[in-house]
Amino acid sequence: MDLDDTPEQAAYRAQTRAWLEEHKSEAPVLRGPGALKDEAEILAARRAWQGRLAEAGLAGVTWPKEYGGQGLGPIEQVLSNQEIARAKVPGILDAIGVGMLGPTIIAHGSEEQKSRYLGPMLHGDEVWCQLFSEPAAGSDLAAVQARARLQDDGSWRLTGQKVWTTNAHFASYGLLLARTDADVPKHKGLTMFIVPMDAEGVTVRGLRQISGEAEFNEVFFDDVALDSGAVVGGVGNGWGTALTTLMFERVTIGLGSEGLGYNSARFAAAIAGDEHARRDPEVRHQLGEIASELLAVRFTGYRTLTALQKGQIPGPEAGLAKVTIVSAAIKAGDLIADVLGPDALLEDSEWAYMISFLPGLKSAGGTEEILRNTVGERVLGLPPEPRLDKGIPFSELRSKEGATV
């Protein structure tokens, strides 16, 4: 048991660190003195920086070489992320594309799609967004209603709405899960599409959250034309394709959880600054519990890495780490605001931002309830809840729910 790099990993780390040392002055400054302010400027700078990282082999580390990646393992991806964080420079702009959607296209896309889309995605020239969730399809993702209808000429027409779409307001393309057949059970009538975000009939609207910021969007599709080459992974195979994306999402969350900035050192520093609170037994008790849980998550991450190193894919229990982080951070926000008082809730305070962000994060990437169902069933082997939608064509299901398709 050790936490050290192997000689190969140490060499990779050293090489990565050296490149970052040499080039970090080219990275955009996003915080502190000299930070870029203009949103368009920030975007352009971050795209360019992603391009530099890609050229240096620090983006798409796990992608196969033939698509511009390094063909390395998840360990090297983590080492590269750690070195980027250490150098205090931004990571890639399109983490969703490179981390989840690109790997999905690599797994299921046609050769034309791979050669057309992967390069510009990796280099930040074309940013991608994930068009899966809908107002009535989140935990129950297979209930998506966005409808793509096949035309006589083999093209498609798409109508519907997606929601919680990060980066949609500047994305070039989206990977979209749509229903193509409502007369079969719901998991069977789905198809994955590549959608150009500048197509006629696509409308993106920012979705403001508790914090007041709009990190997500709603995206509307009004009779959008898609050509036959837009299908990824075959008509009717959308569910299997989506599961691939979700698997990569789990890996991303499992390995990137500390990147959220919810760690014991940060919370302890906020308490340590208050002479009274740091001696208060009740405050200490709560801080001790919060810190213990967050330290546990750090080592759960190391366990996940060990599994990946041995070629195993982390299971749904990695999702429990997210439950721990979010609930510990919620407790930390409450504790720190109790200690600091109403000033913690100043709109531009880091704590107000965190406190606002967490209630939504609890549902992001799978609600806590769904995560606990999945873990209970797949890890503990408990029986599933009886389901009322099995084997029933989607159109009948919808009419049972009192809706029309």
Binding site: A296, V297, F299, R372, G381, L382
Partner: protein, 385 residues
């Protein structure tokens, strides 16, 4: 990066599971609660046969030369079947001796298990109180550590220690006393080894709630002791080792409590479905799993830190104790509630785990002290940053 068990560690764990499976430890625990004399099997003989008394003693002194994580694996197996085996007291004592260059003459008989040691749990100072302390016999105020006065080549130790695990029947008592103290300027902690049959030593055997735990109130009045040249960090380290060991033992109990509860939730039906299909039941069981997994991760942290990052060992071991103890509380209560009324009856195993949970969280400083220590350590880290 490698947080996986080695083949040797897997073998150690499986061997421990096999050795302990030869005994009906749960039935014995219930019989002991019923007041049956000599109901508990002599598991020290099993420990001797398996080489566990010498786990943390160097090979040159007859031990296995293994580290904290290996010992934690064995304790985890003991916790699974609630085996009272005296390692919680013995192992930290051997760690103090093993780290003392002058402790060698005492080690070989302890390594073989011919003699058994008990650790005198003395908690190191924290960021608020610069004083070594012991658990009180009653109430919440922590009491000063035993004191030592020089007497020729050795010292004489005086003090009271309460609820000392595995003290009854131990041959050697090993721990920390404060030279010319406590509460004197310039006082310093020293490692001490005291023969249990020496003048001035009295051990009052007692039990609380969990029949498998052997505890003792210890009174030392000018008891002659050998001074050990154990470095101060290793004296503090013994406390944290004890925290890590009780954490590992607790998580072993959590594993069984969860396994048994899950099995029952699959087989027991209400309203035409297995109760494990209900979210309320499923989610309470995944909560136990969540806490178990967090605890396991911290066992790796503590197991690594003792030698891999000694300055983090207090934090790692205290965090492991804090999380494991809460996990056992949760697991034991969930075990009872998933089983319904039957889970709260004398015949069921669930109350044995509940009794274990209730007592464990109050020993060795208690869970709350460990949790407070985590806060102290992260605050100190923040000050240093």
């Amino acid at each position: 990066m490698n947080l996986a068990l080695s083949d040797e560690q897997v073998f150690l764990r499986e061997a421990a599971r096999g050795a302990l499976s030869r005994f009906k430890t749960l039935e014995a625990a219930r019989a002991a609660l019923n007041g049956e004399k000599d109901a508990l099997p002599d598991l020290w003989a099993v420990a001797k046969e398996a080489g566990w008394p010498g786990l943390l003693i160097d090979e040159s002194h007859g031990g296995a030369g293994l580290d904290a994580f290996d010992a934690m694996l064995v304790l985890g197996e003991c916790g699974r079947v609630i085996a009272g085996i005296s390692l919680l007291g013995h192992l930290p004592a051997t760690a103090i001796l093993n780290d003392a260059p002058g402790g060698a003459p005492l080690l070989s008989e302890l390594a073989s298990g011919e003699r058994r040691a008990a650790y005198l749990p003395v908690c190191p100072p924290d960021d608020l109180v610069n004083e070594w302390s012991v658990d009180p016999a009653h109430g919440s105020e922590r009491l000063p550590a035993p004191s030592a006065v020089s007497d020729g080549a050795g010292v004489r130790v005086s003090g009271e220690l309460s609820f000392v695990p595995d003290a009854p029947g131990a041959d050697l008592l090993v721990g920390v006393a404060i030279l010319d103290g406590p509460r004197q300027p310039g006082c310093k902690p020293v490692g001490v080894a005291i023969e249990a049959d020496a003048t001035g030593v009295s051990v009052q055997a007692l039990q609380r709630y969990d029949s498998t735990r052997s505890l003792g109130h210890l009174s030392l009045k000018d008891a002659p002791a050998t001074v050990l040249d154990t470095p101060a960090e290793a004296l503090a380290g013994a406390w944290y080792l004890a925290q890590a060991l009780i954490a590992a033992e607790s998580l072993g109990s959590v594993e069984t409590a969860l396994d048994v509860s899950v099995a029952y939730a699959k087989e027991r039906h209400t309203f035409g479905r297995a109760i494990g299909s209900y979210q309320a039941v499923k989610h309470s069981l995944t909560e136990v799993l969540r806490q178990l997994e967090n605890g396991r991760s911290l066992l790796y942290y503590a197991g690594w830190a003792r030698h891999g990052g000694p300055q983090e060992f207090p934090l790692a071991a205290s965090a492991a104790r804090s999380v494991a103890s809460r996990a056992l509380d949760q697991a034991a209560r969930t075990m009872i509630s998933v089983h319904g009324g039957i889970g709260a009856t004398w015949e069921h195993d669930a109350p044995l785990y509940f009794r274990r949970a209730q007592l464990s969280r109050r020993l060795l400083g208690g869970t709350a002290l460990a949790t407070d220590r985590v806060a102290g350590e992260v605050i100190a880290e923040a000050d240093a940053a």
